[in-house]
Subunit: 540 residues, 2 copies
């Protein structure tokens, strides 16, 4: 067993000492590539320090590239630890990867080797531009929030080591529902019947057959579109990114709902757009605040980003009247709307509400759709639907930045659609998600304590639970206590604060039920209720 | 027959008149969706104007979305012409696509309908940001150069209507060499053996199996890489785009070879980088100019973009000594090199030269590779190989802008690689291209006139032919005359000027032989020789 010893009388902080001991372990071979480090709790017990100290040590090792921390698994020693900066270069043969553990670094046999007379390699930190740095930081915030709940890990510590964690955290469709067999047949069929169009550079706007199917689907949603109104992208986020890049310019801003999908925020940052969150009132994005923000921004407002149907993270459905109010405000200001309809494919909506893109001739609405949730994420197919005069520059920009999409996947998706298997699949997942949503509402009513307030849940598979507590840092603190209690109970949920670009108005949790059966949902809410009572009952 | 009449006494320019007459033809139904417009030559003859006037009219219609012009085909009337701005809105049901031809517009029955009280839709031109606009303009320059030779079209005018055009223009691998069957088997195998990893969101860095294979290939090229040194991208251009975005910032510049791949220039523009072309001397990029440019730019120099092996468009191989000189200059200036090794996979190089990424520990080299040329373009798979501290932020940026890649394609490519079929395929195409290159050199010696100077052609499948004539606009003019003669002879080639970000030093042609059999190459050079003599013999 690897047991690091720390010197409490030394001036060096304990976290630094712990990181150094682990590094020595890697360099001397006591720890090998792929070895799991002990959990932070266990390491804290062994070494006699706080878990916070262990976490800081692990974070430092991670940042230096010595260990990898996967969401939902222990921290492991990397296969190829990078040479430490202070060890200097050791020749061209090890420029990218360092020598094996134990052969390099200040403590290894290579330490005596003379420094070569070349300048040290550039560090990315010196060179990364401001927009990229902001996007990467936004993503790191999401990742660090993601690391906290450790959803699929074996439970840490004494509580319930016998049970699998129930994962309300991950936003992954249910693998058990993937139409793998039917899709495989469609992919083979596409490669057989027209290998030319599946294997060559295609139109940067996408495979004609798939654009045709998507346009037809848009018309089913009330959006009057032909194939020339469709640009196929590498998933919905790529679509958001292309629109951001088209509209970005010095000083320009993206207005968005708050809370919203943090992935879109990262894409806005990557284009250099300033993010302006517009808070919700009980109906959705507040049109009065939207109007005053647009007035203030003037020509700097590049776009308004909306996810009106079962928004990630709140699951909120913005009603028809509010959609019209928002359209009217944007229309007056002459600002394009980027409508993220990521849930539309699942067909929960019926005719109750219509996409904004189907409603108003006076405003440009760039509609984003995706097959990631309705088919499977690995396909990486999304699209933008808009008027041709917008699709044309977007297509040119797509071509300028990645030529075009994967024609094989696009041809396969079109063949899958044609075969009727997609319609069957959609009915199947739609039924499954409706059942799961009903089960979740019932389980929430049974198990959540009265101080936890379940948001509306009329469709989709995201639920938002508001908890008592103040805004901003207090919200994050309450969420972190609840996460810890959830961990003890064997249930994972996402904290609400990272979804806010503005100040979080209070603690909340996002629950995703897409990947769970009804019985798992019932048990998950039981555990969540217990965790909430444990964490918050004394206070409220 | 549709015969537009122009009024030579009117003040309106003839091109505008012609465009308006054609529009009326569309709106009255005299021209229907899908109808081919006459060739510019024929229309010029009919109407009695210059071809330049016809081209301007067609371009205006194209820009307004009424006709489509595909490279290598006639201009056709679009299926859904957009409503003309001056016709006003006609209700939500036709927001994206206009009413059918003849039903809208000032001359149709709908003209009497009152204007609805909504503002007109936003025009993209008002909104597109400066970086996106520059990238789109760069791409349009490429497209308009591409439209000139009309490679696969039936011949225009009287010359040789009986013969298929021989296409040295297109940069497409030979479809006849695609390993469709073996790849289909590999794709099925990947979906069968591990549908989970092929169908879900995977790591944004790429499918582990494919990163493993790519790292191994990098080591075969002398680059010391493990899987953590590899980020899988959606083709080489996407890799160039990610690096550009990572390094872009206000005032920053990309230094590049001149001539170079115009796709990379468009990606640099899309990130807002200023493009600084560094001219060639006979060995490649001139290191003295590189040094003085880097000195002048200082911290603003974001990267130096190089394609040292069989560069597109010249096919030039930068030798080992020049590679070292360039590395030394960049190393002193502390500027990262973006090395585009798009040809490396085809294995022409042997051990004669090494990728820059394998050579110098003192300079950061971000290596870009691709399977588009060695496997097939529809797969859209490329990669960046670099040290982990660069791969990590690049991966985060990739995740921030498109989550991750198509896992199905990546798993299939890894399976294809594993099966041994990739090695077999590479040997096969490598042999084929070697034979074709030899055939091209021999045919060039036989058929090209002495004033046409064939550049070095030691590998790859691109040839560069220098023609007599002055720099800049004169070069473009000579190229355009040669294009016209090529068209008459039934051969297509790419003009050299669009590959220059700086001033073209003189007229040139790029010939791609990847898609042609030896006999086609022989006949193509015969025609090219005839075209060059026809166009230039009187002058030289």
């Amino acid at each position: 067993m690897f047991l690091p010893r720390l010197d409490r009388s030394a001036r060096e902080p304990l976290a630094r000492q712990l990181a150094d001991r682990i590094l020595e372990g890697i360099e001397t071979g006591a720890l090998s590539a792929g070895d799991a480090l002990p959990s932070t709790r266990r390491m804290a017990d062994w070494v006699g320090v706080s878990r916070f100290t262990v976490e800081r040590a692990y974070d430092e090792l991670w940042a230096q590239g010595y260990v990898e921390a996967r969401s939902g698994s222990y921290t492991r020693v990397r296969a190829r630890p990078p040479r430490r900066a202070r060890a200097g270069g050791s020749g061209p043969e090890s420029r990218l990867t360092a020598a094996p553990a134990g052969k390099a670094g200040p403590l290894g046999p290579a330490a005596a080797r003379p420094e070569p007379a070349v300048p040290p390699p550039l560090r990315p930190g010196d060179r990364i531009g401001p927009a990229a740095a902001a996007a990467i930081a936004q993503r790191e915030r999401m990742r660090s929030a993601a690391r906290a709940p450790a959803p699929a890990a074996p439970l840490d510590g004494p509580a319930r080591p016998d049970r699998a964690v129930i994962d309300f955290y991950s936003f992954q469709p249910d693998r058990r529902l993937f139409p793998s067999e039917a899709f495989k047949r469609a992919a083979s069929e596409a490669l057989r019947s027209d290998p030319g169009s599946a294997l060559t550079y295609g139109s940067p706007a996408g495979h004609p057959a798939l654009r045709e199917r998507i346009a037809k689907r848009m018309r089913e949603h009330g959006i009057d579109a032909g194939p020339d109104n469709v640009l196929v992208t590498e998933g919905a986020l790529h679509a958001v990114d292309l629109v951001s890049r088209l509209l970005a310019g010095p000083g320009r801003s993206a207005l968005c709902e708050d809370p919203t999908y943090p992935g879109a925020l990262a894409a806005f940052e990557a284009s250099g757009l300033r993010i302006l969150p517009v808070p919700d009132d009980p109906e959705g994005m507040d049109p009065a605040v939207l109007r005053s923000t647009l007035d203030r921004e003037g020509r700097n407002a590049a776009l308004v980003y909306l996810m009106p149907s079962f928004r990630n993270p709140t699951g909120r459905l913005t009603g028809q009247r509010r959609r019209e109010e928002i359209l009217a405000v944007c229309s007056e200001s002459g600002v394009p709307i980027l409508e993220d309809g990521f849930e539309e494919e699942l067909g929960f909506l019926g005719n109750a509400v219509r996409p904004l893109a189907s409603m108003d001739p006076g405003t440009t609405v760039l509609y984003v759709g995706t097959l990631s949730k309705s088919l499977f994420p690995g396909i990486r197919l999304g699209w933008i639907a808009a008027s041709e005069e917008w699709i044309r520059p977007l297509t040119a920009l797509r071509a300028a930045t990645s030529l075009g999409g994967n024609m094989m996947a696009q041809a396969a998706a079109a063949a899958f659609w044609d075969s009727g298997a997609y319609a069957t699949h959609l009915r199947r997942v739609s039924r499954a998600f409706s059942r799961r949503l009903r089960a979740a509402r019932e389980a929430a009513a049974r198990h959540l304590p009265p101080f936890a307030e379940l948001g509306e849940a009329r469709g989709g598979y995201l639920l938002w639970v508001r908890l008592p507590g103040g805004p901003g840092p207090e919200a994050a603190k309450v969420e972190s206590e609840v996460m810890e209690a959830c961990r003890r109970e064997g249930v994972a949920a996402a904290p609400g604060s990272p979804f806010h670009a503005g100040t979080s108005p209070g603690p909340a949790l996002r629950l995703c039920i897409a990947g769970l059966e009804e019985s798992e949902i019932e048990e998950g809410f039981r555990r969540l209720g217990a965790a909430l009572k444990y964490a918050l009952l004394e206070k409220y």
